[in-house]
Symmetry: C2
Subunit: 296 residues, 2 copies
């Protein structure tokens, strides 16, 4: 069974009215935004990755989904595989750091002892409140596509984590992403559609377009790149397909300025699919728009 | 780091005001009851256990925690390790069955591809509403201890799953436990304390007494045993220490009758600890009051 088939089968089960057909990054239950992300050792992180960074990332990727719904974090529920060693202590330190950094807290969870030698599997369910909860499917023809922050830093950071030389600040962008919570809160009530960029700008943007029943034109020349990424030698196409950015991608009516710092990178048009250009000159689509699961 | 040390470290983190000090089976967030349980292959279930039964148990043990808070299930959030084979299809069938059986639904979740050969790790976070949400710590001196249903059937079922001969209905009690949702809803508003019996009647009852700052006297002769369990040759002490019952254990003021079928098995008294007797004659405490983690 593929993930696609699994999703089809899951969608045939009784779904909560707030489950959004399992097609969004989060559900809304009794006014709370609910999202869940699992990180597995050997898939989403490496055995040698610092445990504190794994804790940070586990919570941050969930808070990023809350940010994309414009929610305030209520707290996180943690399923944790106790290993009995120094990894646990370092994980807890990182967990405290990421909770403190985002004014978040622990709600509860479960602790399990996995069989000896099993890869760690860690799950967080995050709950958020006071959310405008925009879907990813609300973009309309003529809307502009915007993105917060800079794209590609985390992709460079992943390369650096794997041994390519590069500056520590790019590595930090990969290991300790910043969920855009305050930006999400400001954007939530005004955007037509919003999601976070986790699997690659082009891939996630094409998902927003597909969910909205539209085509999308993206100007590669407009994709915001950091000075550190440019100095490292990164190019816009690599940035737009790398993933792990955890920036916010959103649709606004043409002419409307967002209430937070952001860059306009494209426009929704009638049709289906993704068109790429660089300052007007067509650019062929890369074979891979981003990363699917089973990474690192 | 032991689980006890982990819990101490987790309690030192910022906790949600509804987290109940991580000392209850569930938290209460914005009026929703939140609980989380993980099942790991080789720990909580065997690789040869039917996938549909694993799905059933995964959801049922979470719904049992909602029952213990007197909550109505809103739905479940599932973290699922996709394996690509027949196991997935059988799991989904069982998932549909347990959701249908309890009027529950799917809220969302995450799917991961674990490294090849990894034991499956499955996590559910369940949300419930309209809960009286009694704690396990509310029993008072003189209160009576009650339990729903019969105890020990699942323990016999585990022995049968491991190859001991016995009837299928005991095996079903182990593999497909019934969360006592309607009983929990009726009991929630009237009990002083409530929890579910998951790790063993004596162990869970002693936890309720400790949380309430009291001692507890339990009459082994009163522990309700099913005809099937008696016919199989099970004894009361084995039943009271076996676990996996998923019955409701609750405290009521002396003289108050519960609104559901249940059996009075003991009384809370001043002091600390657990006293066991059989129709008045003292019974020495067994070495193990129930099962801790890492079972099967």
């Amino acid at each position: 069974m593929t993930e696609h088939e699994l999703l089809s089968r899951l969608r045939a089960l009784p779904l909560h009215r707030g489950a959004r057909g399992l097609a969004d990054d989060a559900a809304v239950v009794a006014g709370l935004v609910v999202t869940c992300d699992t990180l597995a050792e050997g898939v989403h992180f490496l055995p040698e990755d610092p445990a504190g960074d794994v804790a940070w990332k586990l919570v941050a990727v969930n808070l990023s989904d809350l940010a994309a719904k414009g929610a305030r974090p209520e707290g996180v529920v943690l399923s944790y595989p106790l290993s009995g060693g120094a990894w646990d202590a370092a994980f807890l330190t990182g967990l405290g750091e990421v909770l403190d950094a985002h004014g978040c807290c622990l709600i509860g969870g479960d602790t399990v002892a996995l069989p000896l030698g099993s890869p760690r599997v860690l799950t967080v369910t995050a709950l958020g409140s006071d959310a405008a909860a925009p879907a990813r499917s609300g973009a309309r023809e003529g809307d502009a596509l915007w993105v917060t922050g800079t794209i590609g830093d985390a992709g460079a950071g992943l390369a650096i984590a794997r041994g390519v030389s590069g500056p520590a600040d790019l590595l930090v962008r990969y290991r300790r992403p910043t969920p855009r919570l305050s930006e999400g809160r400001a954007l939530g009530p005004v955007v037509r559609a919003m999601m976070d960029v986790s699997d690659g700008l082009l891939l996630d943007a094409s998902r927003m377009a597909a969910a909205s029943g539209l085509a999308l034109a993206i100007d590669l020349a407009a994709v915001p790149l950091s000075p550190a990424y440019r100095a490292w030698g990164g190019d816009p196409l690599a940035a737009a397909t790398a993933g792990d950015d955890y920036e916010l991608l959103f649709a606004l009516p043409d002419g409307v300025r967002p209430p937070v710092a952001a860059t306009r990178i494209g426009a929704f048009v009638a049709g289906a699919g993704l068109n790429l250009h660089q300052g007007g000159a067509p650019v062929p689509l890369p074979e891979r728009l981003g990363y699917l699961h089973a990474r690192t």
